[in-house]
Symmetry: C2
Amino acid sequence: MTEKLKSTKIVWTLKTVAKTLNVSTATISNAFNRPDQLSKSLRERILTECAEIGYHGPNLTARSLRKGESGVLGVLLSDPLSYYFNDPVANQFLSGIAETIEKHQKQLLLLSGADSGKHNSGIESLPDSFIVYGSQENNPLYKRVIQSGKPIVTVDFDAPEFASINIDNQAAAYEVANFVLTKRVDPSAAILGLRLIHSERVCRITEDELYDESESVSRRRLNGYLQAAKENQIVISPEQIWHVPHNTFALAKQAAKEVLSINPRPNIILCMSDVIASAVLNVAAEMSISIPNELSVVGFDDIPEANRTSPRLTTVCQKSKEKGEQAVLMLVKGETISKILMPTKLIERDSA
Amino acid sequence: MTEKLKSTKIVWTLKTVAKTLNVSTATISNAFNRPDQLSKSLRERILTECAEIGYHGPNLTARSLRKGESGVLGVLLSDPLSYYFNDPVANQFLSGIAETIEKHQKQLLLLSGADSGKHNSGIESLPDSFIVYGSQENNPLYKRVIQSGKPIVTVDFDAPEFASINIDNQAAAYEVANFVLTKRVDPSAAILGLRLIHSERVCRITEDELYDESESVSRRRLNGYLQAAKENQIVISPEQIWHVPHNTFALAKQAAKEVLSINPRPNIILCMSDVIASAVLNVAAEMSISIPNELSVVGFDDIPEANRTSPRLTTVCQKSKEKGEQAVLMLVKGETISKILMPTKLIERDSA
DNA sequence: AACCTTAAATTAAACGTTTAAGTATATTGC
DNA sequence: GCAATATACTTAAACGTTTAATTTAAGGTT
């Protein structure tokens, strides 16, 4: 009999399964969810018979609707998804999230701001809670996520009303800048900034754009750099500050070429990411500029590759993976009020 | 009035919205989904009022249940999720998927085989279709995905009954091996294989393990290498074939150290991935082995970094990103029967 | 004015679950 | 031996939508 059932392509539901096994839908449901609600023998019979016919448990959508929870954790990202698979820092962060989520039997849904098009998708109704990663200024989904009223933890982005995980970007940037500025005898510095302004093109920033109240990661780092410069009595004018719109090697290389071509060429380049710094290393090699003799380069993040470039990168280590782990943990524990500041560390290697 | 509604924290549903706006639920639903079903004026009124009170469209879970489709595309992966955020090839593949998915207004759900624990989660019921990536031998979710009867496209893995996207691994491996074997005067080769056997440790393979009918990617590449070796009258014995359990730099480095320490040391190393090859480069540099003079190293994949190592990697280019794009396209087009073989190309750089 | 057509909105069933409340049967305490 | 309690299972409502079927109103033809 089960043979026949197996071959006829039925889509099993609680109802059809119940009818087939001659029990109520509630009992099937309980067999899967609440073992204490039925006898051991019946439960075993149900489970084996279900396995036989190919019913692998209650439909997730229906369950979610009924229970009002889905077991899905949403990660809200500001850029198109594809971007995050190419950025080593984001990779580590997501990796930390993924690992921790798996430990807690949840599912991971990646939501990108590029979803703005499908304005009525209501996708934010699926997850039970959210990790919001990075700046969300013009992400329409962000507002909806907030309005959903569900638990939120922000990372590398601070909204007063939510729990957050950050590093002290300004202090860290100050530290690395100060390190390299004090090291050289006659320091002249340029900055390769990440996402300083809204342009999608690599460019220098203007005098006006130097001042900006925004509390974004890059602005804080910029402040740290400038603070160190000021204290060391060197000036970094807007013409020495580049904007790189995304953290990709190609864009960074373009900026690196520009900055290494100016005359007089700076002997220090402060990079807001290791990807950018490694591009500078790459261009410098092509131009036969000796590092750190002629040029000091420092990065930020301490991605794995920073230890494999030649010369190896002097940079600021931040624990991106742990950020992801922490964020998930706060959410699963329901501990969504605290503001966490994670430590950073200056890593002295060979590039400065 | 709307002011008051806004402040009282109501969770809006079609029903409550309908009551508030004095129309039926169907009309609200139609306002969001089927503009032709109501007058333009009413629709506009509804949409603006909804925006005002903070109802952003129908709940996705309920909609999915009712419509029997979720707009979610599932990607079934064999290893824990975190693994894929660290592997450059997987990154490119997922990046291609993500980009294409966004273009088609779908959501991406990453499903890993490590989900085996939650045996009754029924997560496979959420997506409308699946991309199955890589070998799925002992992935319990795979069976369930199949049984769901939903459209499937496999990538880097071939099941006769499904559409698939692959490369000719054996031919590509043969080509690169033949290239490097014919180039050296007195060739002696070792192989750094990826996932050749089931062990979680780096090790050599045994005589027995040399033979294996499995059609896995790594076995096909191994066959290609061995075929080239045979044709060039050189033997590669199992003691010269290493198994690296995962495509990580750390594991590869361990294997690289072992292979470069054997005596006599081989002068050719065939690596089944660029990550492995770059680890070999790294270890060789530490041991002051000159490449390509004393040692030829070839990789596989042509990841972006392959062009930035020193020396730059000679490798096989495969279009991982395009694989992802193709897979999504086949699924959204409902074109799920064909078997696609994507081209590969030998990239001659400096490491061999 | 009677009839037909079209347009605009409503009604109500269904999607596949979970679970509080209910019923029937078995077990216990005295 | 009978009420009280425990165990095992069922009933039916609810979760928030979509959509076929229906009703109502308005406009057009003869």
